[in-house]
């Protein structure tokens, strides 16, 4: 068995009487592409918020590379190598695309909170920013204000900011939501190359994307993981079909 990158143990989250995450236990191996699927309101985003530090778990533990991170502030979790994207584009709207990515690069390159250096004179920052822009296909839009980007490019920028810091565990929350078919194909390609050699955890509704990308799939229903297996076995799992997939047609072949 390879090393575990992220491990959730008996994780619970309640808002008042409502139990949103119910005793979730899940191990994700290093280098794995893990998808989390489930119907609306199953608690997928809440799970991401618990892992990334936006919420504090009611009980249970989250460990990243063996270190307990539950209850830690988001920026400290980020320092430990975990980065996430958001379902709704969460970018710096008043900055240009290039500046957005540059902000994401800063911390990893040890720029800290410096107020004595010129941001433009650090070659490493500029090179890294260019690499990320290039990988995400945003070079020709680098000088545009982020708020003027077309929707699909905003989603690409969202991913660019997420991977800019060089984290080795990447959480993507519905990266292809609202995209056209061709845009989705491009996005999947981007995700594949951008997360090469990294641990990827992805929430997605598009089954085509899921079965295309994932090594393993977990099915979350009412805050509970009812199955966690390879795409092949998930498709054959009767419980999953009944609870979630029901009337939905799955692609018969894995691309």
């Amino acid at each position: 068995m390879t090393a575990i990158a992220l491990s959730l143990k008996d994780l619970n989250k309640s808002f008042g009487p409502a139990k949103i995450i119910d005793n979730v236990t899940l191990d994700i191996e290093k280098g794995e592409r893990h998808a989390i699927i489930g119907p609306n309101g199953a608690g997928k985003s809440t799970l991401f918020n618990l892992i990334s530090g936006l919420y504090t778990p009611t009980s249970g533990s989250v460990t990243l590379h063996g270190e307990e991170i539950s209850g830690m502030a988001p920026h400290l979790i980020n320092h430990r190598g975990l980065s996430r994207s958001f379902q709704v584009s969460n970018i710096f709207t008043n900055m240009t695309v290039r500046e957005n990515v540059r902000c994401g690069v800063l911390n990893a390159l040890g720029q800290g909170y410096a107020f004595w250096r010129n941001i433009g004179s650090n070659k490493e920052v500029q090179t890294r920013t260019f690499e990320i822009l290039d990988r995400c296909g945003l070079v020709d839009k680098a000088a545009l204000p982020a708020s003027l980007l077309p929707y699909a490019d905003q989603r690409a920028l969202e991913i660019a900011i997420t991977i800019a810091g060089g984290a080795d565990v990447i959480l993507l929350d519905e990266p292809t939501a609202g995209m056209s078919h061709s845009e989705t194909e491009r996005a999947v390609q981007l995700i594949r190359t951008a997360t090469e050699g990294k641990t990827l955890i992805i929430v997605e509704h598009d089954m085509g994307v899921i079965f295309d990308l994932a090594d393993r799939i977990s099915v979350l229903v009412y805050g509970d993981i009812i199955a966690s297996d390879t795409p092949q076995n998930i498709r054959g799992n009767a419980k999953v079909r009944e609870a979630y997939l029901g009337d939905e047609d799955l692609p018969e072949e894995i691309a």
Binding site: R84, N107, Q111, F115, Q126, F130
Partner: protein
Amino acid sequence: MTDTTDFQNLAPSAGQKFRQRTLPFLILAAILLAIPMTGPSRTFYTVAHQMGINVVFALSYNMILGKAGLLSFGHAVYFGLGGYLAVHAMGWIEEEIGLWGSIPMFFLPIIGFFGGALAGATIGWPSTRRAGTTFAMISLGVAELIFAAAFMFDSFFGGEQGISGDRMNGIELFGLSLGPIAEVYWFIAFWMFVGILGMWAFTRTPLGRLSEATRDNAQRVQFIGYNPQRVRYMVFIIAGGFAGLAGGMAAVNYEIFTPDALSLLPSGFVLIMAYVGGITYFVGPIFGAILLTYMQSMLSDFTEAWLLYLGALFIGIVMFAPRGLAGIIFGFFDGLRGAERGAFLKGWITSLVGGLFMLIGLIILVEVSVRWSNGYGEIYEPFGLHLDHASPLTWLLFLATTGAGIGLTALANRHKEGTT
């Protein structure tokens, strides 16, 4: 093509950098050097010095309002505390206490900077934990608190008389005794230049960029590895420092500091200066500080109702030109360079004439009302007209100009909507 050339292409070219970054500072330096050659009057110097102080103060305010998105109602606290420390230091230099005797008066703004930054570090520690309304309310509370404290701790604040000093002591630097007003000019010009350059350079640092990122989206900043509270706190300290620098300039210029300097009035005035100038532009607060200082010193000679005009200007900018004077000026040049130059100019001139008509209406209303309310029987007589509050001509003129103004601006707006 290699990667190296590619990433350099993303950055502005050397020519652009020179035009947008170096050239404005060269022009500023040239203007500052040229002003004394015109043999300015004493009044001019007095107003110009106040402008220099306010430019630095307003820019420091915009570091938190425009760049970091923090609305403060108590920025004069840092100006005042920095200034008070500088006035005290002036006394220490005069008495040559300890090492103070070896510090030239010329460097007092640095003492002010430390005073303001220290005050920012102390007060900002609790207040910058939250942004938005909480921060605004705390800033208001702190401003009231410090102002009240100023009348309790007499040895530091000097009660109502304040603390005064004498700038003509200590070591002379650059051959400036700082006695004559023309010598103080060089002091103010130097520190204004340093202040503008310093605050502009700050916007180009990682922390400066992060403060904008935190303003735009504090949540996302956390997920790229930064603590937004820490970003706000550090920016707040530096903004306090530059406000203190302005305070130190004021200490040398006026040789006195009173508790009024840290009251809500200057705190409100700096907000108006920054906003009227345009908080989305770095130069905005500079324009605002120059215009409002001019209004403060000159308009009050023409009319006792100048504060009403100031208020009307502020409301007008907030409602119709939220990007401030800088937005109007840059918008004009952008429009001139745009494709539909003729249509743009037509709309712009219509708006301008409409605005002027409304202004005339406002002036008639205010001036006639003020004289009527005073009850001295004084009559407003511009250009030989006899505008009595009882005469129908007055109100006809008021209605005609205001109506024409509203009509013209509405026309310009409709035209604008039609083209876009």
